[in-house]
């Protein structure tokens, strides 16, 4: 059992938990994730480790409530515990050794890009973060990222930072030159747009893929993604890949596999007085 130490609402649908997981806190590296399970009957949910405090024995998880399982998760409160946390999983980020990196974060992806920016800054790499959201209240991790370098905030409505998409700010940075690598994490269309944008400049672009997973250890093969001519497993070969080689169409399509189930589960969850069969 992993006690929840604190809970913060970062944006209208994004929650931050600080959770006890001493071993994972001690050894996790940027880019890695955990699999969380709430109890009998619950799904295994992959979540990126946004931060860790080895001294306190805690990790930070940032959850966007979209489906039934993530809603169940964010309904927990400090004092509650998460039954299972397995990890750290996935390959750590391959960090640029020196130079200038741009970290692009969209929505909850900003929490995923944060530990990368943190590690790059700690290694002496110049970091510029470009983060975005629909409007002011959807922008997360801006203060944390300011500790790693310059931060450009973009909102669709201009209520914080500049008005427009993160890609526009990224385009200007690429045009300005001197960018050695781009790390982009966010909604799939955003990652694809970033990769397409950097391709003509030949700037290496790393993206983090959120394909559907069950075990997270390479066993099931469900998370396969198209990388160049190959099929690879996001859980053991990734989750980070060369954005210029990713088959984003395939990823977007495979992410819809369980859409009907998801909508159904969410609808049943919101029905008051719903009595599910025994908790087994």
């Amino acid at each position: 059992m992993h006690a929840i130490r604190s809970k913060t609402l970062l944006s209208p649908n994004v929650t931050r938990f600080v959770v006890e997981a001493p071993r994972i806190a001690e050894i996790r590296k940027p880019g890695q994730f955990v699999i969380v399970r709430l109890g009998p009957g619950a799904e295994r949910i992959p979540l990126t480790i946004a931060d860790a405090d080895p001294a306190a024995g805690t990790i930070t998880l940032v959850i966007q409530a979209v489906g039934k399982s993530t809603h169940d998760l964010v309904d927990l409160d400090p004092g509650d515990a998460i039954r299972d946390i397995a990890g750290p999983l996935g390959r750590p980020t391959e960090l640029l050794p020196a130079g200038h990196a741009v970290c692009v974060g969209g929505g909850v992806g900003t929490a995923v890009v944060f530990p990368i920016a943190q590690a790059l800054a700690a290694a002496g790499v110049r970091v510029t973060s470009v983060i975005g959201g629909r409007s002011k209240e959807w922008v997360i991790f801006a203060d944390e990222l300011r500790g790693t370098g310059d931060v450009v905030v973009c909102t669709d409505d201009g209520s914080a930072g500049r008005k427009g998409f993160v890609t526009q700010a990224l385009a200007e940075l690429c045009e300005g030159g001197g960018i050695d690598e781009v790390y982009a994490v966010g909604p799939v269309p955003m990652m694809r747009a970033c990769a397409e944008l950097t391709r003509p400049y030949g700037i290496k672009t790393t993206v983090s893929l959120n394909s559907i997973m069950v075990d997270g250890t390479g066993m099931c093969g469900g998370c396969r993604v198209g990388i160049g001519d190959t099929s690879q497993y996001a859980c053991v070969d990734g989750p980070e890949f060369d954005g210029h080689a990713v088959d984003f169409d395939l990823l977007i399509d495979r992410l819809t596999t369980y859409r009907e189930f998801e909508q159904d589960a969410l609808a049943r969850r919101s029905q008051p007085g719903q009595c599910l069969e025994g908790d087994r």
């Binding site: 050894i27 295994r44 169940d72 397995a86 250890t217 066993m219 093969g221 053991v236 369980y258 087994r280």
Partner: protein, 476 residues
């Protein structure tokens, strides 16, 4: 102790093999309850009396974990179920499991004297597997009567990586010898392939849990959610423990490498079975979904393929078809599974090899394009190599495809243990007793053999436990 009535060989020979009571096929093909119902005590005693109590029993040598088969069967025949259970548990840490999933027809029962033709009549071996299951289930129902004596603690600590059949067997043996055993398991629950791979209708998960519970009562500790190669490395565990047994099982699923394999509706058998068996996707209260194909094609001919196709049937498939590139005689699956599948209405396309998964306009599976095969010259495995017949292409109608053609080694553990010698396929090099290139590190089961069976993994676990015990008590 009850005495077995003295039966002459002639009297024993006169008893026919007792059939295993089973759920009717039309009923069971729509539920997940166990197919075989188990012997009654009366049936078991009668079946046990068929055993000729050979002076030099071949069945024991035919058993990968060397169960003293005539001994426990003799005790059953005498009605001494407690004695039979104690004898069986001494030899086999997971008898409820092996009694259900062992391929007895190519092991103990294949060499049983009763299986030999006599005077023109075909023989029928003693139903050793069914008797084992009966005794094991009796033991599970009477845990207090079969608890082994507490051993003297040795003070030595052994780490076991993986809680599948190999790991659990080694854990049981080592705990019985007084060692302090900790099992590390990647999943949130114990059992490995017994849990995520083999379906409920063949091996109920409560039974697996009972076996695990017995080991825990014997003092075995199980740490879940621990992925060796990620949470800890093998060298780290070697530092903390006096010996390590690596039994992480087979790893990554293999796909066919044909176009269309990433369409929605194509599953590796591992994923399909894990969603149902481990995550309970067939139950209405489970959050993990699974697709319910109406026409399901399962590629492969092994036990995993049979498990997948029979699961598809239970999840409502109108057509559930095995697509296998060789003929019926080469099917590697256990005979009983093939028989049960046929009874349940599973169809077979033999001498058929997929060439492409056909998709619709929305990225979903719409069929499995195949080619007919014929058997040519024998290949390296001694089996006749299937060869495609030109111009024989046809499409198996399907809205779901499950690929059950094997696995390759999972690299997580070996990548983080540079001193561990692996072969060119990524499997760990180990001798017959499981010794690896690192002193004190032993390995067995599928991570050494490639994909094999539950009982072979258990045999490896048992032999490695003996070797680990010798290593720990060592000369110096």
């Amino acid at each position: 102790m009850a005495q077995q009535p003295h039966l002459t060989t002639k009297q024993r020979m006169a008893i026919d093999r007792q059939p295993m009571p089973a759920q009717a096929a039309e009923l069971r093909s729509i539920n997940f309850e166990e197919v075989n119902l188990g012997f009654t005590e009366q049936l078991a005693i009668l079946e046990a009396q068929r055993c000729l109590q050979c002076k030099k029993p071949k069945c024991v040598a035919g058993c990968p974990v060397s169960v003293d088969i005539p001994k426990f069967i003799n005790l059953v025949a005498a009605g001494d179920l407690r004695g039979a259970a104690q004898s069986l548990l001494h030899d086999n840490a997971l008898p409820c499991v092996t009694g259900r999933v062992c391929p007895q027809e190519i092991q103990c029962e294949q060499v049983c004297l009763r299986g030999r033709p006599m005077r023109g009549e075909p023989g029928t071996p003693v139903a050793i597997g069914h008797l084992e299951r009966f005794v094991a289930d009796w033991a599970a129902a009477h845990p207090d009567l079969v608890a082994p004596p507490k051993p003297e603690p040795t003070g030595r600590r052994v780490a076991i990586i993986g809680s599948g059949p190999g790991g659990l067997t080694a854990a049981g043996e080592l705990a019985r010898l007084g060692h302090d055993v900790t099992v590390f398991e990647a999943f949130h629950a114990s059992g490995g392939v017994l849990l995520y791979g083999i379906p409920e209708f063949r091996l109920p998960k409560d039974i697996v849990q009972q076996e695990v519970d017995r080991l825990v009562r014997q003092g075995v500790t199980i740490e879940h959610n621990t992925i060796v190669g990620r949470t800890y490395t093998l060298p780290e565990l070697r530092e903390r423990f006096d010996a390590v047994f690596v039994a992480v099982g087979a790893g990554l699923p293999v796909f066919m490498n044909v176009p269309g394999e990433n369409l929605k509706g194509v599953y590796a058998a591992n994923e399909y079975l894990t969603r149902v068996n481990l995550m309970g996707a067939h139950r209405p209260d489970a959050d993990t979904p699974v697709l319910r194909g109406r026409r399901v094609a399962v590629v492969g001919g092994g036990n995993v393929a049979m498990d997948a196709v029979r699961t598809a049937k239970r999840l409502g498939a109108d057509e559930a078809t095995i697509v296998y590139r060789r003929s019926r005689t080469e099917l590697p699956a256990r005979a009983e599974e093939v028989h049960h599948a046929e009874e349940e209405g599973v169809q077979f396309q033999f001498l058929t090899a997929p060439v492409e998964v056909v998709g619709d306009d929305h990225g979903w599976v719409a069929g499995l394009a195949c080619v007919r095969m014929e058997l040519g010259e024998p290949d390296d495995s001694g089996r006749r190599r299937p060869v495609a017949i030109p111009g024989s292409e046809f499409v198996v109608p399907a809205d779901m495809v499950v690929v059950a053609i094997g696995t390759r080694a999972n690299p997580l553990l070996t990548q983080t243990s540079p001193d561990l010698t692996i072969n060119r396929w990524g499997y760990i090099e180990a001798d017959a007793d499981g010794r690896t290139s690192i002193p004190g590190v032993f390995a067995g089961g599928d991570i050494v053999r490639g994909a094999a069976t539950v009982i072979l993994a258990m045999g490896d676990g048992k032999r490695a436990a003996t070797a680990i015990d010798a290593y720990l008590r060592g000369p110096g």
